[in-house]
């Protein structure tokens, strides 16, 4: 019984996270200016990281944790590089 509840709530949570990624992707395509696109890329990698974590809870293996960690590290680096590019026009001076 509780296993069924857990399974369905994980499914609902994954649907919500995919919907969140969809909202961010809509703003990423529509976004009036470049800073909106960078902001939504940032929101989108956080949602993707959470989605990988829920897949990890569902499957019960800890491999997904390392994938989530790598996604968060690389997403931070890419967001910082894009924000620096918007500020100065180049990434490495």
């Amino acid at each position: 019984m509780t296993a069924t509840i857990l399974l369905w709530s994980l499914t609902a949570a994954q649907a919500m996270l995919v919907a969140a990624m969809g909202c961010s992707a809509y703003r990423l395509i529509r976004g009036p200016r470049a800073q909106d696109r960078v902001l939504c890329l940032d929101a989108m990698y956080v949602s993707a990281m959470l989605l990988v974590l829920t897949i990890g809870i569902r499957s019960g293996s800890s491999i997904y944790f390392e994938a989530a960690l790598i996604i968060s590290v690389l997403g931070f680096a890419s967001s910082i590089a894009l924000a620096k590019f918007l500020m100065r026009g180049e990434v490495i001076e």
Partner: protein, 122 residues
């Protein structure tokens, strides 16, 4: 989904609640990026997902794996610490870049550069 039967009822319910709460908060933040008007309002919305959205799902993962392996599994705290440290840095840098771009291109009603600060003498 074979390991879910091994979870006791309280752990399964706590995990389900935390996962749903975290995913709901993340979805609210993503809807906020659609509905707010200006960039400087929009920059607040995704922090809903990066603070308690991430926190709740990481807590759910900690509860689930700690009960399953009957030992404390806390390596998810690493992701939480990393996200909570890096998000303000990213968003501050992005908001400063947006302010700079709005000022130099002269659109949007951003406040002007402070008159108290002397322009750099070059």
């Amino acid at each position: 989904m074979s390991h879910a039967e091994n979870l006791p009822a309280w752990a399964a319910l706590v995990t389900a609640f935390l996962v749903l709460a975290g995913a709901g908060l993340t979805l609210l933040g993503a809807i906020g990026t659609l509905r707010f008007r200006s960039f400087f309002e929009r920059v607040h919305a995704p922090t809903l997902g990066t603070s308690w959205g991430t926190g709740a799902i990481l807590l759910a993962s900690i509860v689930c794996f700690s009960v399953l392996e009957s030992r404390p599994v806390v390596h998810e705290i690493m992701i939480g610490a990393f996200i909570s440290v890096t998000t303000p840095v990213t968003l501050m840098l992005l908001a400063r870049a947006a302010l700079y771009r709005d000022r130099t291109e002269g659109h949007g009603d951003v406040p002007p550069r402070s008159i108290l600060r002397r322009p750099p003498s070059s």
